[in-house]
Amino acid sequence: MQLLEYFLSLNPANLLAAIPGNVAQGLLWGVMALGVFITFRLLDFADLTVDGSFATGGAVTVVLILSGVPTPAALAVAVAAGVLAGLVTGLLHTVWGIPGILAGILTQISLWSINLLVLGGANKAVNVDKYALLVSLRNVASSIITALAFSGVLVFLLYWYFGTEQGSAIRATGSNPQMAKAQGINIDFMKVLALCLSNGLVALSGGMMSQYQGFADIKMGQGAIVIGLAAVIIGEVLADALLAKYMNFAIRLIFVVLGGVVYYLVIGLVMWLRMPTDLLKLLTAVIVAVFLAVPYLRAQSKNSFALASKRRANKNA
């Protein structure tokens, strides 16, 4: 009976009404997922800098907006800050020979202190009533449109860039560094370039998120790499399940952003279910895991040896 009461107390209209907000947030994180995609998938480099550069983007954007800089200019400076962060990681890895993951961690740790200095504390609010922000939780509909525009332009630019000679060189470096080097590509330069590009995108996403939620917080980047990776992988699984035969690079990029949207829709769903709040992270992980497992299990069930022998038996019969 209690179960029935519980289900009756859930109001689907609330879930539907909350979807636009989750979509907007997912699209903004999707920009970050694009950054993670570049390093994780294209460069085959697990870049942990993003936890730090996400917060750096947010901190720089908010501090500049508060000092009267117009928002687009503030975002541009935030991107530059992210590029610098990526540059540091890249140099630590290529010039000083520090293994990739550690280089990212070192930059992430240093960015904690730098972000504190930039923010002048642990938290800074940017009031949507006082400043002209590009996106805000106050105005979800226009935020979705702005976020879609941003992601659309970025997907297009990335698609174009990774088709150019330099972009293809980055992909080659990630795919087979030895061969790329043998072909005359400067793989160190390509790694640094990709890291800069990726962290610039992550910082952009951080800047947008801090406007959206109305504040920049020193901890806002914590766990960002996990969300980014989840978005990338969800996007890949979805794309594979839905559009396997038509897969191309542009579709992969689009689905990376959609992966971020799906992740936030799942969080919104878990919240709406009014489960004990301590279980939020566990339930999100379970739902994402089930999500990712279903296509794999379906494929397994269709391709088992037992089924193959049954099919042969039927043919021969």
Binding site: N11, A13, N14, L16, A17, A18, I19, P20, G21, N22, V23, Q25, W29, L66, W112, L116, G121, A122, N123, K124, A125, V126, N127, V128, D129, K130, S136, L137, R138, N139, V140, A141, I144, M209, Y212, Q213, G214, F215, D217, I218, K219, M220, Q222, G223, L242, L243, K245, Y264, I267, G268, M271, W272, R274, T277, D278, L280, K281
Partner: protein, 335 residues
């Protein structure tokens, strides 16, 4: 394959159209009515967004729920959500509350309040466990009322009276170390204010910050080695890791004055404590006034803790050989 694309496109179209409907419903708020509800409405939905699981914040939420349940009984239902320490999740929760058209939002801790402020300018939002509303909401020349849909209670402890504790118990000490987590915006504010008071009394103050529970031990060790007495503001990370501070300070016999009772029970000698349950309860009373009495949050002043009590930790005082005057109340160590 064609069928799959058709199915996918149709479902995407349906979802998008639903989202569009949901979008307008979520964004067209009812016109701002002071009080938010007409008296004839029988039941109220209150959304509670708490930043992280933590004893002080939990106590404030409990006080809030108790106050409203006492006054409204079964007419109020709560939607209690916890962001588990993730400030981005605060935005998701605030969005859910706005979409569900709750009658009032209670935001426990600074990022929750900031997310609530951004999410809505019409639904009344009451903050609690926020130390300084002017900084949290980016309001210049803050005088106690926000002029918007936000009001609430502050957990600002009486820092001048807490500084007086130093003079009372440790008049001969010279160096005071102030230990707090750099991720907590309220701690920095308290550190700044108490440094002013203590320096005026003749103490030399130095701040020691750590970034999370992993660095707490080395920083605390450094602080105890360089200070005569330590001060701990009301800091969430310190409260969660108070045992570490006790294990560092007690062996070297450096006494600790804390900002609230919970941390005093863990590692402190004495404190001038506010009760988080009390400020939560006061927030509940303010909510009742808004929901049924037609009160307008834009003119409601931020309220502070109703009473302060001098408390001391009998075990630690005994271990350090400190005896205090009778106006200090012993903390119940068994509770």
């Amino acid at each position: 394959m064609k069928k799959k694309i058709a199915v996918f496109a149709l479902s995407a179209l349906m979802i998008l159209s639903l989202a569009a409907c949901g979008g307008t419903a979520g964004n067209s708020q009812p016109p701002p009515v002071p009080g938010g509800e007409t008296p004839s409405d029988e039941s109220y939905t209150v959304g509670i967004v708490q930043l992280v699981q933590h004893p002080a914040l939990d106590a404030a939420t409990q006080g809030f729920r108790d106050a409203l349940s006492e006054k409204l009984g079964s007419k109020v239902s709560f939607d209690e959500q916890n962001a588990s320490g993730d400030s981005a999740t605060c935005a998701v929760i605030a969005n859910l509350f706005v979409a569900s058209n709750v009658d009032l939002i209670m935001a426990n801790a600074t990022p929750s309040l900031q997310a609530a402020q951004t999410a809505t300018s019409t639904i009344p939002a009451l903050g609690t466990s926020v130390t300084d509303y002017g900084t949290a909401l980016d309001i210049d020349n803050f005088t106690g009322t926000t002029g918007t849909n936000i009001s609430g209670t502050s957990d600002l402890p009486p820092l001048d009276q807490q500084a007086a504790l130093f003079q009372d118990i440790f008049p001969d000490a010279k160096k005071v170390g102030i230990l707090y987590c750099s991720a907590d915006p309220n701690s920095k504010y308290q550190a700044k204010v108490i440094t002013e008071h203590l320096t005026a009394m003749g103490y030399t103050c130095k701040e020691y910050t750590f970034s999370d529970s992993n660095d707490l031990q080395p920083v605390a060790t450094l602080a105890t080695s360089e200070s005569d007495v330590l001060y701990l503001p009301t800091d969430n990370t310190i409260a969660s890791n108070i045992e570490i501070i006790k294990n560092v300070s007690l062996p070297v016999k450096v006494p600790v004055i804390t900002g609230e009772e919970g941390t005093c029970k863990g590692a402190g000698v004495a404190t001038l404590s506010i009760s988080y349950y009390d400020i939560g309860y006061t927030t509940g009373e303010m909510a009742y006034d808004i929901l049924t009495g037609g009160a307008d949050p834009s003119t409601m002043e931020i309220r502070y803790a109703p009473k302060f009590t001098k408390k001391y930790n009998p075990e630690i005082c005994q271990a350090l050989g400190i005896t205090l005057s009778a106006d200090y109340e012993a903390i119940d160590m068994t509770a």
